[in-house]
């Protein structure tokens, strides 16, 4: 006799003699998901959160916990300002934030100022000095002078690191650390000994170990790791354009390991955040150096707070193209015309086109980047 399984019941009600796998109802699973706590850390820019959210999920978008995000951009663009605001929000919600400075230490007054603004933005009333100190004490600040210190912290982490209650780990100025230990070397120089050749490849191997270690730390502790880097420049001689800014850290393993990549840059009117990689998928072509991806506008007020500008949704690319000046050398997107030699052919005689398309649009994983000589 078939046992009637009530599909809305919880697994415990299954008779022990049943050999069926215990099932969890969809409503139970959803409830569990919602009560488990947010899986993302809000970026305080609503349009950016939307861009970072997964397609078709109910979850609120943001910096994913258990994942690593890379934020890069030129000096003074606003990376630290945005991160401070995100961190202040976490601190004001009672979480702990680990802040690791690689190149130069954070200015204490900026942190206090960010906490002050966040508390008044969240609760509407100004924070007391005691509250500010309490929130500030939840920020655990580490100063790592060299790459080795960071590697010791991440790859061979102490049992109490990160402290309990941590939701976010910020590593600031990562590329400076890498560049000191493993400066860029021109591959083309001849006459290298085997040791030198091996050493030349160490930069990317160490970066690979680092991102693997960071991802592991993120997953095991359910924290969002954010690494900021400066920029380098790369020539674009093949497309006839001048040099463009590229992230200070690159490499196949590193690029593959980060979950989101954001670029923050300035413009005449305001600043922008571009989403170049989100949800583990690269949003710009592998060869497209200088592309920003979808962008969100923001500005840094005089008190240091970061506010989104413009509509709450991100700017569609068509709306942008209308009023901007076209770079004289940049090639315009060409529309692919029909090729002459496909005349008369029936597109899909055997029904292969559909299956091909499915294969093409399936998740092929992460692109690998090819190595090029990077000049700073």
């Amino acid at each position: 006799m078939a046992t009637v399984i009530d599909i809305t019941s919880s697994p415990q009600k299954l008779p022990p003699s049943s050999h069926r796998l215990p099932t969890v109802s969809a409503s139970d699973a959803l409830q569990e998901l919602q009560t488990a706590g947010p899986e993302t850390i809000a970026t305080t820019l609503p349009a950016l959160d939307t861009l970072l959210a997964g397609v078709g999920t109910n979850s609120i978008g943001g910096l994913g916990r258990g994942k690593t995000t890379e934020i890069w951009g030129p000096v003074g663009a606003g990376k630290t300002a945005l991160l401070l605001q995100i961190a202040a929000r976490e601190l004001c919600r009672g979480s702990t934030v680990v802040w690791i400075d690689g190149s130069s230490p954070l200015v204490a007054t900026r942190l206090d100022s960010a906490i002050e603004q966040r508390t008044s933005a969240m609760s509407g009333i100004a924070a007391t000095q005691g509250e500010i100190v309490r929130y500030r004490n939840n920020l655990k600040h580490y100063r790592v002078p060299t790459l080795s210190h960071l590697l010791a912290m991440v790859l061979h982490s102490q049992p109490d690191f990160p402290p309990s209650g941590t939701t976010m780990v910020v590593i600031r100025g990562l590329n400076t650390l890498i560049d000191i230990d493993y400066p860029r070397i021109l591959f083309a120089s001849a006459g290298k000994s085997p040791q030198q050749k091996w050493q030349a490849g160490r930069r990317y191997a160490v970066l690979g170990s680092l991102i693997a270690g960071l991802n592991k730390l993120a997953v095991l502790n359910n924290v969002a790791i954010v690494a900021t880097t400066g920029c380098a420049s790369r020539t674009r001689s093949d497309s006839g354009l001048g040099s463009a800014l590229v992230p200070g850290i690159s490499g196949a393993e590193w690029d593959g390991g980060v979950w989101n990549r954001l670029v923050i840059f300035r413009d005449f009117h305001c600043r922008f955040v571009g989403v170049q990689k989100s949800q583990g998928r690269s949003l710009i072509g592998r060869q497209e150096i200088g592309e920003t991806g979808k962008i969100v506008a923001f500005d840094v007020e005089h008190d240091g707070s970061v506010r989104q500008q413009g509509p709450s949704s991100s700017l569609p690319s068509e709306a942008l193209r209308k009023s901007i000046s076209r770079s004289p050398a940049k090639p315009r997107g060409r529309y692919i015309d029909e090729v002459a030699d496909s005349e008369g052919e029936d597109a899909d005689e055997y029904g292969w086109a559909e299956t091909d398309e499915d294969a093409l649009t399936a998740d092929t994983g992460v692109d690998e980047t090819t190595e090029q000589i990077a000049t700073a």
Binding site: H302, S325, T375
Partner: protein, 429 residues
């Protein structure tokens, strides 16, 4: 190990002297020791793997002991802890400029003053040499060290500022700065620069209780070097080598600033830059606004570009959404406008770029650009006649900074030093 003692200066290498030379020869660094398996390292350097394991764990212990938890704002090294809320600065002795810098030039960081020749860089540096000697909040009550690479320290001008600056003359004699507390040194070339900065400067810092290190200018020793005797280097190789040198220099200065708790202030030179920026046709057609007050209008050979529409304000009743100004926003030429100090308003045509490039810019904690724009005589000019320069408009522009917001202020140079001009305000960042 090529960098072991740089990473852990206090590390005891005695137990490992038998394997360290082999590790060095195999070009193994401390980061390699932490990321590679001890067996692989041992195989590569041909040393016993047990020894490598011991070394790796000793290094790890050393590193973990160093990376201790610290209150934000408390410096490491030999300097006693300060109140986290306090932020040590060296004042510029002018209230408006100090407000722009949130107090002054920050301690423990590297600040750059960049500008054309005769823009006023040296005037600021000389003023800082004196204000560093004042007690907090204007200074740190310590001596100053001035390193010159081109012209030696201008002692006459320094004495003039000391005797005529409005804020210094009112001080009682025991609080006034003195010339005796300003040490100076000269660096002739690049090799000497690295040696002096790395080895001799720390000795001088401690011997004379120095709180401010000034280098005037940082770019002078970087000239194209022609290798004689070696194979001709390709341009790309020289460029990469130069970038690495500059990165090392920046790292050295930052470490010195942080370790000894001093402010490092650097002067830099500029080169011309030609940007191919075509203003979009829509902007030229909008109604033009008067840019400058009538007394400083220049003869218009170029069309006046209208001021950029500020964000979110209603223009003809329509709020313009924020948009990119070009479809190639990450181009180096375009981004140069925002971190060099020249070009972040669309009107400027005379663009300058600080020397030593992007690699150097990445090393700085703050950049102050001293922008010098000629003021032409407002009179009737005949066709083809060169306009007469009546004076200079000098702007003190904080381009980026780790501790304060970007800003622009006008200033002038006088016999008593530099002072801001409060009456005229400028559009822009």
């Amino acid at each position: 190990m090529t960098n072991l003692l740089t990473v852990l200066p206090a590390f005891d290498t005695q137990p490992y002297t038998h394997i360290l030379p082999s590790l060095e020869k195999a070009l193994i660094s401390s980061a390699d020791l932490l990321t590679l398996d001890a067996f692989d390292v041992a195989k590569r350097a041909q040393v016993p793997s047990g020894e490598v394991k011991k070394l790796a764990s000793a290094v790890l212990n050393g590193l973990n002991a160093f990376t201790t938890l610290r209150e934000v704002g408390r410096p490491a090294g030999n300097v006693p802890a300060t109140d986290p809320g306090q932020h040590e600065v060296i004042s510029t002795l002018d209230d408006v400029l100090d407000t722009a810098l949130d107090g002054g030039v920050a301690i423990g960081r590297v600040t750059e003053f960049v500008g054309e020749s005769a823009a006023g860089k040296t005037q600021f540096l000389l003023t800082l040499l004196l204000s560093a000697q004042l007690n907090p909040p204007h200074g740190v009550g310590k001596a100053a060290l001035y390193i010159s690479t081109e012209a030696p320290l201008q002692t006459t001008r320094l004495a003039q500022i000391l005797n005529q600056h409005s804020k210094l003359t009112v001080l009682p004699p025991d609080e006034r700065p003195t010339m005796a507390r300003v040490q100076s040194a000269h660096i002739h070339d690049l090799e000497a620069q690295d040696h002096i900065l790395r080895f001799q400067v720390p000795v001088m810092l401690q011997r004379h209780d120095v709180g401010l290190l000034v280098i005037d200018s940082i770019a002078a020793n970087y000239r194209p070097e022609f290798d004689k005797g070696k194979a001709k280097r390709s341009a790309a190789e020289s460029f990469v080598k130069r970038s690495n040198q500059v990165t090392d220099l920046g790292t050295l200065l930052r470490e010195t600033a942080e370790k000894y708790g001093i402010a490092v202030v650097v002067a830099n030179q500029v080169a011309d830059r030609f940007a191919a920026f075509e203003p979009p046709p829509s902007q030229l057609q909008t109604s033009q606004q008067v840019q400058k007050p009538p007394s400083v209008s220049a003869p218009q050979n170029l069309p006046i570009l209208p001021s950029t529409t500020p964000q979110g304000t209603a223009h003809d009743g329509v709020i313009t959404p924020p948009s990119l100004s070009t479809d190639d926003p990450l181009a180096l030429d375009h981004q140069h406008r925002f971190f060099t100090g020249w070009g972040d308003d669309m009107q400027t045509t005379n663009l300058k770029t600080p020397s030593l490039g992007l690699a150097w810019t990445n090393q700085l904690s703050a950049r102050v650009a001293l922008v010098k724009v000629p003021i032409y005589e407002a009179k009737q000019y005949m066709a083809g006649e060169e306009p007469n320069i009546a004076g200079w408009k000098r702007t003190f522009k904080v381009v980026f900074s780790e501790w304060c917001q970007p800003s622009c202020s006008e200033f002038e140079i006088s016999s008593g030093g530099v002072r801001s001009i409060a009456e005229q305000h400028e559009n822009g960042s």
